[in-house]
């Protein structure tokens, strides 16, 4: 079967972020970008299925500007067989629905049996694209998978992460869309051989016109008003000094406030 992984090129979440001049997003000019962490686990899960002979072809897809092609090259170098890059200036400032609509248009006739993606993106945290794609395709969907296994060629068993250390186990009939949690596997890194091989792997670039979509089909439903640092509510008392002075002060606070020392 053919499988698809949805990936997003996002700023490294360990970056020091500054706001842009209009206060509507972070200033992305000097940030280093990477494959969204959640999506790396989704790719690894498909590569494991391919290693086991359960999946024949793994395709990576992203929606984003030219620089997002780097995320696809990483996926190809890590083991994906080919890539699809949906790129169009009309998609700048898009929202999850627009992204899902473009993905749906690009893959509806591809014949995928399984689509995996990350539960959420580390930048906007919307947690929507996987479910929207499933909804548009009218395929079964399960989110926040921490374990996947093929019960038979048409049934996927998914452990969905709930709260308080619980999981829900569901069996879903393929074709289906599943989003994954971090930590479910150990994502492999690209080998030098993989990086060389990736240069020969095909990347299809699609604009909206290739997808049968007009710019008015992709009007965003969500408009960002502002992005701002969280308000300082209850703020911690910040201790300063040498490590020894700080340690002494902390022991004093802990003794006074908690009685555990």
């Amino acid at each position: 079967m053919k499988a698809l992984v949805l990936v997003k090129h996002v700023p490294d979440s360990n970056s020091v972020f500054r706001l842009n001049a209009s206060g509507t997003w972070v200033d992305e000019t000097n940030l280093s970008f990477t494959v969204n962490d959640f999506d790396r686990y989704a790719l690894e899960e498909l590569l494991k299925l391919k290693d086991a002979g359960r999946v024949e072809e793994v395709v990576a897809l992203t929606v984003g500007p030219a620089q997002a092609g780097a995320a696809l090259r990483t996926c190809l170098a890590t083991g994906a067989d080919r890539a699809v890059h949906i790129k169009d200036e009309a998609l700048a400032g898009s929202d999850p629905f627009v992204v899902a609509r473009a993905i749906h248009a690009a893959i509806a006739s591809e014949g995928f049996s399984l689509i995996l993606g990350g539960l959420q993106a580390d930048d906007d945290n919307h947690t929507q694209v996987g479910g929207l794609v499933a909804g548009l395709l009218d395929w079964p969907f399960a989110s926040a998978a921490v374990r996947l296994s093929l019960v038979d060629p048409s049934t996927l068993r998914v452990d969905r992460e709930l709260e308080n250390n619980e999981v829900q186990v569901v069996d879903i009939t393929l074709p289906a869309v599943v989003t994954v949690q971090t930590g479910m596997n150990t994502p492999r890194y690209a080998s030098l051989k993989g990086i060389m091989a990736a240069k020969k792997k095909p990347v299809a670039t699609l604009a909206l016109s290739n997808l049968g979509l007009a710019p008015e089909d992709v009007g965003a439903k969500l408009r960002t008003v502002s992005l701002a640092p969280p308000p300082k509510g209850k703020s911690a008392e910040i201790l300063t000094g040498s490590p020894e002075e700080i340690a002494k002060a902390l022991v004093g606070r802990i003794r006074e406030k908690t009685g555990v020392l």
Partner: protein, 323 residues
């Protein structure tokens, strides 16, 4: 006046607290209009009356064996005809594993705008304004939605207080428009994630390590402080995902919730998923190199600095202070 619908969450026996919080928020948003609760399940009529006593003016109780357990597909198929009939302005779900599973499925069906993880919602002049978090809590993200209806939102736990005092509402029971045999999703079971017997929920002292420790061998610095204090070692998701500690050490929404007398966060930035699991600790100490880290917003006392300098010094001072 806006028509707001709330999806109740339950485990078959009890309603989850988020259901009451959603009703509270719905009344604030609806400014006087009727608030309806949607209750889906099998054999849950007792829960319907509880919703009507705590803020739902009307409970639409959808009964069916296909809804015995939550599945995104079953809930979506039962809800779509109801929403087509009710034509709400806004549908509220919890920002919970089932809420974030279902919200995009409904949004796709109605080509509806959806806002997730909201802490505040305001409807004004026909526009919806939603306050949420982005960049894992490092920023507050305000978004606006125009005239498209329905709007769908998932609401953070604790963002809204329940309705005060007892209320009276009506209950309308309907049969689910979906049968088990229609579904391509089958619930198998709900089970505990694998664990080795550690129970942090009752610990008095917890010292936790986050991404800032950088490498598994460096965890020992944090472990030494936990031992000196006579406490347990906890972790943020980054540490358990990397396999540096087993999952049972994870504190937060998907791990364990704790409320010790003393919580020391070492190299933890304070993503919302972690904070919800530890913010009820009696006294919180945070050590982090990033002065802007959200953890300093929940801590009582903080140190901006290198944990590999501060934590060993603290371990030494604790040992000296002990009788």
């Amino acid at each position: 006046m806006a028509k707001v619908l709330v999806l109740a969450e339950h485990d078959g026996k009890n309603l989850k607290e988020i259901s009451f919080e959603l009703l509270g928020m719905a009344h604030r948003v609806a400014s006087g209009a009727t608030v309806k609760a949607l209750l889906l399940g099998e054999g849950v009529s007792e829960l319907a009356s509880k919703l009507s006593e705590r803020g739902a003016n009307e409970v639409i109780h959808v009964e069916g064996s296909a809804l015995r357990h939550y599945t995104g597909e079953g809930y979506r198929r039962a809800l779509v005809p109801l929403l087509e009939e009710e034509l709400p302005d806004l549908v509220l779900l919890g920002h919970t594993p089932n809420g974030w599973d279902l919200a995009p499925l409904l949004a796709a069906r109605f080509a509806a705008p959806a806002a997730t993880g909201c802490s505040k919602i305001v409807l004004e002049n026909g526009k919806g304004r939603f306050t949420r978090k982005a960049f894992n809590g490092k920023f507050i993200h305000e978004i606006e939605v125009g005239s498209a209806r329905p709007m769908i939102a998932t609401v953070e736990k604790g963002a809204s207080s329940p309705v005060e005092g007892a209320t009276t509402g009506t209950v309308r029971s309907v049969a689910a428009a979906v049968a088990e045999s229609d579904l391509r999703t089958r619930h198998v079971e709900i089970k505990k994630a694998e664990a080795g017997g550690l129970d942090l929920s009752q610990a008095t002292i917890i010292v936790s390590a986050g991404r800032g420790v950088g490498a598994p061998e460096k965890l020992e610095v944090v472990r030494a402080l936990a031992e000196a204090l006579g406490g347990q070692l906890g972790a943020s998701r980054a540490v358990t995902d990397a396999g540096w500690l087993p999952h049972e050490h994870q504190i937060g929404s998907s791990g364990v919730s704790v409320s010790p007398k003393l919580y020391v966060a070492c190299g933890i930035s304070g993503a919302i998923q972690h904070v919800v699991g530890m913010k009820s600790s009696a006294y919180i100490v945070a050590i982090n190199k990033d002065a802007d880290a959200p953890i300093f917003g929940v801590a009582d006392v903080g140190v901006v600095g290198d944990l590999f300098e501060i934590v060993p010094a603290l371990t030494k001072a604790v040992k000296e202070a002990k009788p």
